[in-house]
Structures are given as C-alpha cells and as structure tokens.
C-alpha cells in the first residue's frame, strides 16, 4: 500500500506570525466595536420603544377619562408633582391622576385611596443610571392661534377642550447624557364638559 504524506516542515516566521496577529486583532477589535455599538443602539431603541408605548398608553387613559368628566381640577403639589382630579355628573366618585416627574403617572379610580401605576415606569437601571425621565407635563385649555375659527361656538368648543403635553428625556446608554426628548401632544374635547357649560351658561 502506497501512502502520500504532505508534510510542511517549516513553521511561520516571526514576521508572518506578527502580521497575522495584527490582522486578526484588528478584525476582532473592529467586530467587537461594531457589536458593542449595535448592542448600545439596541438598548437605546428598547428604552425608546418602552417610552413611546408608555406615553401613548398614559395619555390614551387620560383622554378617555377627560372625555367623560365635566370638570377637571389641576393641583400643583410641588415642582415635580401634579395632581389632576376629574369629576363626573351624578356620582360622587372622582378619578385622580398623580403625575410625578420621578415616579411616573399613577391613577386612583376612586374606589380606594391607593394610586396605581397605569403602566410600568422604572426610570433607572440596575446600576442607578437614568434610562429615561419625565421632564414636563402640562394640561391647559387651548388658546386662540392664527388661523383658528373665532366665533361663540368655536370658543365654547375650545372651552370644553384640553391640550396635554408630556415630555420624556431618553438617556444615552451607558452614559448619563440626554439622547433625545420624546414629545407627546394630545387635544381632547370633553362632550360632558361642553354640555355642562351650555346648561349652566358657564363660558
């Protein structure tokens, strides 16, 4: 039986080894850097997605309640805490929202004194770094701007409407600088408030 062996008796030279090590380390470094950037982007996108859902979820809830209520009272408890109380006709039950820049937006549906979060809001990660933070919450009646209809009826409509503005800062993972500010705007018309205003001539 005849065997063929292909034997390479010479190893790599020092230069060859060094050059190959350099190429491999450059490629590895590039790949690691690329994957680190991808991971960073994914984390940031994850937080952004969470906050987009959170902002819309919270404002949808508030919008639904405001449409049913005939009166809204805003109480500024401190610079970072605001309470909104919503009253309904023919019932003693009122809905309350506690808007805290630090702890998110919580709701009390009138059945007990407890405020419960509308959605998950955990602004800091395991290492106590900010992921996101509510920076601004405003609720007001819409003002007359250029191009708006000006008449008694239009004023009554505006008087029964609210503009809500919510701003959430997104932080750049893993640094603590603000990457982007998400801005949510809603305009809500409350038929309950409109009917109440007409009946009581409250304009």
């Amino acid at each position: 039986m005849k065997y063929k062996f292909n034997i390479n008796q010479d190893g790599f030279t020092l230069i060859e080894s060094l050059v190959s090590m350099l190429i491999v380390s450059t490629l590895s470094f590039s790949m690691f850097f690329a994957f680190y950037q991808i991971q960073k982007n994914l984390v940031n996108e994850d937080y952004k997605s969470d906050m987009l859902n959170y902002g819309n979820r919270v404002l949808d809830d508030m919008e639904n309640e405001i449409m049913k209520s005939y009166q809204l009272i805003k109480i500024n408890q401190s610079l970072s805490n605001t309470t909104i109380e919503l009253y309904y006709k023919n019932t003693q039950i009122k809905t309350k929202y506690l808007v805290s820049l630090e702890n998110g937006i919580k709701k009390n549906n009138g059945t007990s004194n407890r405020y419960t979060p509308i959605d998950i809001y955990i602004p800091k990660d395991d290492e106590n770094r900010y992921k996101y933070k509510i920076t601004n919450f405003e609720i007001s009646q819409p003002t007359l701007t250029a191009g708006d209809v000006f008449s008694y009826e239009a004023n009554m409509a505006r008087y029964a409407s609210y503009q809500i503005k919510l701003e959430i800062d997104l932080y750049n993972y893993p640094n603590d600088n603000v990457l982007e500010t998400l801005e949510f705007n809603r305009r809500v018309f409350s038929p309950a408030k409109y009917i109440y205003n007409i009946n009581t001539n409250n304009a």
Partner: protein, 151 residues
Amino acid sequence: MEIYKNTYGFTLIETLIGILMTTVICSTLFLGITQAKLYLEAIRVKEKAFIELKNFTNEWKSMVAAGVSNFPSDSNSGEKVPLKIDSNGNTTLEGNLYKKITKATNSGQYSIYYNIQTYITWDKKNLFFNKEKSLLDTLSFNTYQIQFNIQ
C-alpha cells in the same frame, strides 16, 4: 512511501482576498442594520403622524359638535406640524395637515351632521439613503360628527 514537502503558506493575494471578503461581509451587516433602523424610524414617524392627525380631527370634530358651520379653507401647504425633532429641538421632518368638512347629504333638520375628511402628508425621503427623490407618504381619516343641539 512518497512524501511531498509544502513549504509555502498563504500568498499575499490569498490573504488580501480573505481580508476583502471579511470587510464586505461586515459592511453588508452594518448596512443592513442601518437600513433596519431607518425603517423603524419611518414607522415611528408614521405613528407620530397618526397621533397628530387624530388631534387635528378631534379639534374639527369639537368645532362641528359645538355648532360651527363656516370652516376656513386650507392654505396650499395646509397646517404644518413637526413630526421629527432632533436633540437640539430643531424640526427635521414636518407634516402638512388638511381638512375637508361638508354637511352630510342626508343630514336632517333635527340631526345635523357633517362629514369630516382629514389627511396628513409628509416627505419621508430624508429617512432613507436615497435623498434625491421625493417620497410622499399620507394618512387619512374619514369620519362623521353630529352637531349638538342643546336647548
């Protein structure tokens, strides 16, 4: 027994081709990820446009409900609304809101209601690599609102 001695490693050309292939694969990967990110951004802009159109429609629905019957016509560019804002607070993408409000054909004496057609358009060319062509996107609502008749 025959023994062949191979004293050669990879040639320069082979090594360069290997590096070139790795670079091409990495670039494709990056390009794919960036493109996916841009598509995601385009979806978010569409969501924002949807919310702005909903607010705009709500505003005109409230006007109809309260008894407004004369509606101003839109300017050519409609009502401008920011859809994308950069970290410095500058608007990078703007949408244009339009409306068409007409009394519904079968609106009666006691139940007066209007047909409200609203739409928003925006140019999403800046969201993608191809910035030469205009890529108009649009969303529209078609709804009815009854006029409140409270005595």
